[in-house]
């Protein structure tokens, strides 16, 4: 439980940094695309007996770098390409798993999250990743603000907006895969989106969005873990249900104003 809580704290901060960018740039579908394509990597990892997370990161990075390439080559909206690629990655995952003869107990955990699966290495790796992410965010904070607020002027002013965005999306890919164990592939996009949506109306800067949504995210994870432990339910599902309840409460409060 302690391990799950520490991991939950790390993941709530990571997903707030990533989620705020995806929500503000209108790219939340990319978040879903990344997490679902990770499934292909996980399945391949299980089949080959390699750490599934490494291959999941590889699959997620592939979608991040391949989609802008396709977008430039053919005139298709980004959501169409994401839709094609992530379902293909999931289909491949299903094919890989049919070749696997062993016991596939891990799979449900990867899809919906399993607190017992979080080990000490995951926590060390998540901590190191969070450190890298924070350094990146602090160093590029105003460039990111400019890119979100006014992408055209940001590019005219000399920012390589393509590279900056692809770097953020690559970091998102790693972040999403790291969060899969606790929250699950299918549910992670909710953790990226809901806390940010709750705090957006009363935040006064990107910094505030990240701080407040981290708190909300952790609140959801903490209560969700405790409840799932006592009710013997999948952790990710309980966390997301609680966050959705919080979102509905904030929505009602806003409406009353």
């Amino acid at each position: 439980m302690q391990r799950a809580l520490i991991s939950g704290l790390l993941i709530s901060i990571i997903s707030s940094i990533i989620g705020s960018y995806l929500v503000l740039r209108g790219m939340t579908f990319m978040g879903s695309g990344i997490s679902h394509s990770a499934f292909g990597g996980i399945a391949l990892g299980i089949l080959l007996g390699i750490n599934p997370l490494i291959l999941a990161i590889f699959f997620a990075l592939l979608i991040v770098w391949f989609i802008p390439y396709i977008k430039r080559k053919i005139r298709l909206r980004e959501d169409v390409t994401i839709g094609i690629f992530y379902t293909t990655a999931m289909a491949l995952g299903a094919i890989f798993l049919t070749f696997h003869k062993g016991y596939t107990v891990d799979l449900f955990g990867y899809l919906f999250g399993n607190i017992l699966a979080v080990n000490i290495e995951d926590i060390i790796f998540s901590s190191l990743f969070l450190l890298v992410l924070i350094i990146f965010e602090v160093k590029n904070y105003w460039k990111i603000v400019y890119l979100v607020f006014d992408p055209t002027s940001a590019e005219v002013s000399g920012i390589n907006t393509f590279l900056l965005e692809e770097t953020i999306l690559s970091l998102s890919a790693i972040a999403i895969v790291l969060s899969c164990k606790l929250i699950g592939i299918i549910l992670i996009s909710a953790l990226l989106v809901i806390p940010v949506s709750i705090v957006l109306p009363w935040s006064k800067s990107l910094k505030e969005i990240i701080i407040f949504s981290s708190i909300i995210g952790f609140l959801g994870i903490f209560l969700g873990l405790v409840l799932s432990f006592y009710l013997n339910l999948p952790s990710g599902a309980v966390i997301i249900t609680l966050l959705t309840l919080l979102f509905l409460l904030s929505f009602l409060r806003r409406k009353r104003k």
Binding site: W142, F149, T152
Partner: protein
Amino acid sequence: MNKIIEIENLFFSYNGETILEDINLSIEEGDFWGIIGPNGAGKTTLLKIIVGLLKPQKGKIFIFGKYPWHLKEEKKYIGYIPQKAEIEELLPLKVFDIVSLGRRAINEWRRLSSKDIEIIEKILRELEIYELKEKLFKDLSGGQKQRVLIAKALVMEPKILLLDEPTVGVDLSSQDRFYNILEELNKNGLTIILISHDIGVISKKVKKLACLNRKLFLHGCPQDIRIHKFLSKMYGEEVFFLTHEGEEEK
């Protein structure tokens, strides 16, 4: 006068469709150009080529004597104000922070110095938005938002200001004030290019006018009768009278 921008026989097409055809234009230091044309005429494309966001397939274009896509240090001299639709208002941002972006961009994203803050505050006062500096952008009126975006460009201390449909969503009295600010900036030596589909006010305020509809048809002084004839053909007689009256007022 120094030439800031030179465009020769420029062509641009996208997915096989010609957007700009054989454009020739030369812009000198201290000019105040208005480029007008209907929606879809290629105005934004031309502006994006000038600032180096798009590359033409044929022809020459120089800004500060270089190809736009080769600009390095000179990028600091370009103040660009995009269409309102390109601004993301979902991100909560204070006026001061937005204006500071221009200053940060030319300082290699270093922390703001006290001199930077002084320059930002000076520009905020000049554009009469100093009192709004702690306010969120999304809570401002259309005219105030426009002045914030100009301030963001001006803190870079640019040599040229390019504005893409700046008065969309701005009420008439604010528009007038906005054009007066531009006139003032131009008097102080700033070169300005403004594109708009709305020819009413623009033709009264700018020094030189060009009509763009895939090709650059005519350019010269706004008073030029040939331009009025062309506009009446492009937009209809009604507009012709509107601009003509404006001219008589002068």
